[in-house]
Amino acid sequence: MKTAKRTKGTKITKKWELRLYVAGQTPKAITAFANLQKICDEFLADRYSIEVIDLLKNPKLAGGDQIIAVPTLVRKLPQPVRKIIGDLSNTQRVLVGLDLKERNLTIGGRR
């Protein structure tokens, strides 16, 4: 299963489109961006793009992706849309959230 999914993931030639919503250059925002970049470099090398949206500058964009908490990472592509909130400090959970890792395993791990 695990390998099947991975191969499925790698088959997708489209780029991963990620958006990181933040509200100002807060420490949380900076941490989140650093964590995200690290994860992407490791798991999605050259297949991703990150768009950082500062809600303080573009408050109207918050409604579109139903942003309440910041920082929020939204996976726009591939579908379906996924959301991860927080400073992305827990790499395992980020991977689960992005469907880069099987959910079952981590749920067990979480408990």
Binding site: K28, T31, A32, K60, K83, S89, N90, G97
Partner: protein, 576 residues
Amino acid sequence: MAKNSTRFSRTQHKRNKRVISALKKCPTGISGLDEITEGGLPLGRPTLICGSAGCGKTLLAMEFISRGITEFNEPGVFMAFEETTEELATNVASLGMNLKEHIRQKKLAIDYVYIERSEIEETGEYDLEGLFVRLGNMIDSIGAKRVVLDTIEALFAGFSNEAVLRAELRRLFRWLKTKKVTTIITGEKGEKHLTRNGLEEYVSDCVILLDHRIVNEVATRRLRIVKYRGSKHGTNEYPTIIDENGLSVLPISSLGLTYPVSNDRIPTGIDRLDTMFGGKGYFRGTSVLVSGTAGSGKTSIAAAFADKTCRKGEKCIYFSFEESPEQIKRNMGSVGINLNQWEGKGLLKFHSTRPTLYGLEAHLVRIHKLVEEFHPTAVIMDPITNLAAIGESLEVKSMLTRIIDYLKNKQITTVFTSLTEGGGASAQSEVGISSLMDTWILLRHLETDGERNRLLYVLKSRGMAHSNQVREFVLSGKGVHLRDVYIGAGAVLTGSAREVQESKDNAQKLSDKQSSERRQRALRQQHLTLKGQVEALKVQLAGLAEELRISADAERCRIGVMHHRKKEMSLIRKAD
């Protein structure tokens, strides 16, 4: 130390300042709510509206925004966590609120916040700045003065980190205060607390509790102000209603026995009934109870009063709990009371509902609303007995007390009809409300000689000399009339028995008259006879007197002759 004391004195100063400038209020425009809050919600502060599902929280909040726009020209922001903009607009469209139009005019901003926990993965620290940004953006874009968060508790379902959430909520309410917007936060009623997640902890300025309970299978809505910091407010549970005009609260429980009284009289519509009330009718602004058994003519008395009121050009509302307006009009037409014409002229208004249609409070609110709209001088409630079906007698009594207090305050004369059970004591009114009534007319049936007749008497009428007489109450095609009953020989006779007795009396009178004439004639005859006899005797007497005189003359003559002859004889005899 010195620093501390200056700080202390500064806060003291601030506090004093707040005391001096009384709490400013933000009127909601919701009928009745501004009265019990004495002006509205605390201006620039959050207010919590809580209650169970379906009690009207969202509606109240939306009305606050909508009326703010239409009545006070204050733009508003509605942040919905449960319904989409479309759904909200559709839901309140039937209540006359045009949200789309408000949005187009940039008076209203609605944001639907959608949180689905299963779609969100939490990793590490976060805050709710996104919410702040969205809210702040909306407030600033239209210059909102009013904000609704409906219901912010959805956040508790969306995020697992309650500590963050609570800290953020506290920050949110503080932030809203600095934005100087008047906010309504709605919250679902919890088991131990007012709200499920203890929102009342954060919103300490004003808490309003909505309640929707079922009593005897009938739903009643109530509203109570749990607390209102820095302001006087009504503390009771106030009946509330949601109708085509939105939500209305009835501030009626706060009435007291302070109503004005009038010496003005208002005719009853039945001439001889006016006579029984000292010739002038009821006092204006009093409550009149007409009680009686089924079919005793209660509605007719009430309708006669309505007819008379309208005839004078005054307005009247007829609340009917048993019959439809058409039926009343037809039935009253049969006793010569044409109510149709008054309805056509807009002087009379019918309102027919089954008592069980909604709760007592809702009836109360409806009566209140109609009276406020129509401004009648007379109100008829026919019959109040049926209300007992939907509430405990104590509740019915308290409702009627409130109606009576309210109507008396408005100087409206009210006629209540009440059905008394055939078997029960007639002076015991079903709802036990007789003590609330100023005038009490009792109708009774009298069954004699195979027929039933109506009797009417005035049991009490405060403040006037009223008749103590029992009258027969006659309904005919020409109208409603009162007649004297036959009282004689220890019996009260009505109907045909009265007629029979009256014709008997007439016959008796005639024969009495005839016999007295006969007697007089006989006496006159006797008189004449005697008079004749007296005349005859007088003639006889005169004859006798003449006879007597003649005979005396003859005697005198004879004696004279005899004496003369004696002398002659002696001369002849040559006597010495």
